[in-house]
């Protein structure tokens, strides 16, 4: 490939911590790769693990779910619930052969603008390595 592959990442961020953390990264002008696109939800607990499967189907090369650090959830326990769900979804995806780099989860607090950058950069870099998601995206289907 002559042109460098640029992954497309869909991220689900909780409103209170990670979205605010990403906002802070912005306010602080911390630069990071532009490959990641955020969907705001109120809580990481809102993210249905099937969203991950759906995002991969819809053409994402990787997915990130980010919430508040344990104990900091604005809704008390949403991130704990999410952690369990995604621990399992991640194993399941992995088991059918979806590379681990395609599903990521992080804790980023409202004050961790710098961490947000690290997370995004890390995820994007790993996905650059992993290449395009070709296992079961819809767009590969011959209509």
């Amino acid at each position: 490939m002559s042109e460098k592959f640029e992954p497309n990442v869909v991220a689900f961020l909780c409103n209170w911590c990670s979205y605010a953390g990403a906002d802070l990264a912005g306010t602080s002008r911390i630069e990071y790769p532009p490959n990641l696109h955020v969907i705001r939800v109120m809580c990481s607990g809102r993210v249905n693990p099937l969203f991950i499967v759906n995002a991969l189907q819809q053409g994402a090369d990787g997915v990130l779910v980010s919430g508040c650090h344990p104990g900091d959830c604005h809704y008390m326990e949403g991130n704990f619930l999410a952690r369990r769900r995604f621990a399992l979804m991640r194993e399941l995806l992995n088991f059918v052969g979806v590379d681990e780099s395609r599903f990521n989860m992080s804790w980023v607090s409202a004050s961790e603008g710098a961490k947000w950058k690290d997370v995004v950069t890390g995820v994007v870099n790993n996905l650059r390595e992993a290449g395009a998601f070709t296992e079961f995206p819809r767009k590969k289907i011959d209509w």
Binding site: D23, T27, P34, H37, V38, I39, R40, G45, Q58, G78
Partner: protein
């Protein structure tokens, strides 16, 4: 009734904040082509009046029924634009914001890449807005009272303001007296007013205010409910002294078998008290308290033949039968004013705080130097025969502040000034003493601060730039090892006394409050405000505000200002008497709900319950949401297998198109 989505897209330049990195014209051209988009416009400041007017006019003239604003974070202006929609007669929840500033223009440099990303974000917003549904904001009554946790100057000030406005206040203080840290201070910088002189009247005002219920020696056990309708449970710890009888005469304390043998918290352990005590002379309420941790009767079950205090009290107020009491009440808002702890100097062992008696903290120095302190304001060290007056006195600043090794990267904001103040007081008491201050920087940013700093220097206090590396004892003297960073010379400074300007830290028991109210902490571990600039007294929990050092280090004027800010926020709620409840809450499609109760278990607010309904003649269980309790986190929606419970504005049918837009090629 579904009508055709007619979407207006408004792209903000944010001056050049967005326009510099995102090609807004290109974005506008792109937007018009998106499905269902009627108009797309760009403008320098969408949030400004003309910007909003543009949206309102389009809604009216072009019959728009959905609005997408591509601008700064929704956390910034979502409300602004919602209001614009309402003013134009549109439901405020027909709005979606594409964050192309914080998440795009500010974090990317390449204009092409940033524009491409902005397009995607915009496309996703358009995809979602099409499926948004109008939501009704319901209102609930606000209980006309406030709970204030913490009776320092912040809590006192907030209480007074709210009480003066005519609302009931419950002021809960953990220790036997209100007053907080300020009551421990001697004079206050930069004006050098006597702390007690300006604080005590306020304490008394608070205690005697008809609208204020003072709950000292008390702790909040639980807070449930939601803005406007919190249910509070407070534990009033047993004082073993009948409040109504105690006259505050103090005879009990004099007679106490442990008189003067228990370390006084108020005096930072420098002075002693009895097991039955008044924390300090001006304490409010001026009633005695038996310390259950030291009292012989309470710890061992007996105190001589019978407790001396009981015998001594002429009013018969001492009552060992007393039990903790639970007080319950409802309140509309909560202000958290739990203040700070000082840095534990023992955590910097190189300064010998735990080893040498003549190494003190700033707060200890405040007590030592205070005329109401253990020495009656005499600046002496040592006890009895060993008593001596220090001559060489050194202050070390930034102990436990601006220091990665202690985990406190922040500046404590008051140490520079209180050091200067203490140095001045030393000079005042012991004019011939040699006072020097080791510092990294001097920060004198406040009103009158720089002038004060100047004055202290003129008084002969030496400022030496250097960060001492070690303090040890040599020949009965303290030796400070330090490099003068201005002259780059290593120094060994022999002194009689060292004062460590310890920084401010979050209360060590802050966790309790976090758990009570689900507050968040910022990276410095102080309570996190909703927005560092625009909502510095609000928290993420509606109806809960912050005041004073609980939110971060600050001096008294800032504390008072913030307390007044918090009070005014609370008053807005209280005086309007109504509050809108979350509209973006969950609802259950009873037709498909299978009654498994997963959502019921998941909901952290017990907002969902199973109810029995009749489905075609069969009694079956389905879930139902209590709208006032639901906070709209959506955890139930992600946990419901059949997709029967949905979070409004974040429904599967709204998020899936967003995913599709972001996943696909733009």
């Amino acid at each position: 009734m579904s009508s055709k989505p007619k979407i207006g897209v408004y792209i903000c330049h944010c001056g050049i904040n967005i326009a510099k990195t995102v090609d807004v014209e290109e974005l506008t051209r792109y937007a018009v082509k998106l499905p269902n988009v009627r108009v797309a416009r760009d403008y320098s400041y969408m949030c400004s009046d003309p910007g909003q007017l543009m949206i309102r006019e389009d809604i009216r003239k072009n019959g728009l029924n959905r609005v997408v604003v591509a601008s700064c974070s929704p956390r910034m202006h979502e409300l602004t634009f919602r209001k614009a929609l309402v003013e134009a007669g549109l439901n405020p929840y027909y709005l979606e914001i594409a964050n192309i500033r914080e998440h795009c223009s500010w974090v990317h440099k390449d204009k092409q890449e940033a524009t491409a990303k902005a397009k995607k974000l915009l496309q996703a917003a358009v995809a979602k807005v099409r499926f948004l549904e109008p939501l009704q904001e319901k209102e609930v009554d606000v209980e006309a009272s406030a709970l204030i946790i913490g009776g320092g100057i912040a809590g006192i000030q907030a209480s007074l303001d709210i009480a003066n406005a005519g609302f009931k206040v419950y002021l809960v203080e953990k220790t036997p007296s209100i007053g907080g840290r300020m009551s421990q201070l001697d004079k206050t910088f930069p004006t050098l007013d006597c702390s007690a002189c300006i604080l005590t009247p306020k304490m008394v005002d608070a205690a005697s205010h008809p609208n204020i219920t003072l709950l000292t020696y008390s702790q909040v056990e639980s807070i449930t409910g939601y803005v406007g309708n919190f249910q509070v449970k407070v534990r009033k710890k047993a004082r073993y002294v009948d409040f109504s009888k105690c006259t505050g005469c103090g005879l009990c304390a004099e007679e106490c078998r442990l008189a003067d043998r228990v370390k006084s918290e108020f005096n930072m352990g420098i002075g002693n008290r009895s097991a039955i005590y008044l924390p300090f002379p001006q304490a409010v309420p001026a009633k005695y308290t038996v310390d259950p941790h030291s009292c012989l009767f309470l710890t061992r079950g007996k105190c001589g033949k019978s407790p001396k205090c009981v015998e001594a009290c002429p009013a018969g107020a001492v009552d060992f039968e007393q039990k903790d009491e639970i007080v319950e009440f409802k309140t509309g808002t909560v202000i958290v004013a739990t203040g700070f702890d000082v840095f534990d100097a023992a955590r910097k062992p190189e300064y010998g705080y735990s080893d040498y008696d003549n190494v003190l903290t700033g707060l200890e120095m405040e007590r030592l130097i205070s005329s109401s302190g253990p020495t009656g304001g005499k600046l002496v060290l040592g006890k009895g025969d060993g008593e001596y007056v220090p001559k060489e006195i050194a202050f070390i600043k930034c102990v436990g502040s601006r220091d990665k090794s202690t985990g406190n990267e922040y500046c404590s904001r008051v140490c520079c000034m209180y050091t200067a103040k203490l140095a001045h007081l030393v000079k005042d008491k012991l004019p011939e003493a040699n006072v020097r201050i080791y510092y990294m920087d001097v920060r004198a940013f406040g009103k009158g601060f720089e002038e004060f700093y100047d004055r202290v220097r003129r008084e002969g206090v030496r400022y030496i730039r250097g960060n001492p590396s070690e303090i040890f004892k040599r020949n009965g003297k303290l030796v400070i090892m330090v490099e003068d960073t201005l002259t780059a010379k290593p120094l060994e400074d022999e002194v009689d006394m060292v004062v460590l300007a310890v920084g401010l830290e979050p209360r060590r028991d802050a966790r309790e409050v976090i758990d009570l109210l689900r507050l968040s902490q910022s990276s410095d571990r102080f309570f996190l405000e909703a927005h560092p600039k625009l909502a510095p007294v609000d928290t993420a929990t509606e109806g809960v505000y912050l005041a004073g050092c609980a939110q971060g280090p600050k001096d008294i004027p800032d504390t008072v200002a913030q307390a007044k800010g918090a009070a005014s926020s609370a008053l807005v709620l209280l005086s309007s008497g109504k509050v809108k409840v979350q509209a973006q809450i969950s609802w259950v499609n009873e037709a498909t709900c299978r009654g498994c109760g997963y959502c019921v278990e998941i909901c952290p607010y017990t907002a969902i319950e199973l109810v029995s309904v009749n489905k075609m003649g069969h009694e079956v269980n389905v879930a139902r949401v209590n709208e006032a309790l639901c906070k709209g986190c959506g955890a139930c929606a992600a946990g419901c297998l059949s997709g029967s419970v949905q979070q409004k504005s974040f429904m599967d049918s709204q998020i899936l198109p967003q995913i599709a837009a972001l996943g696909g090629k733009s």
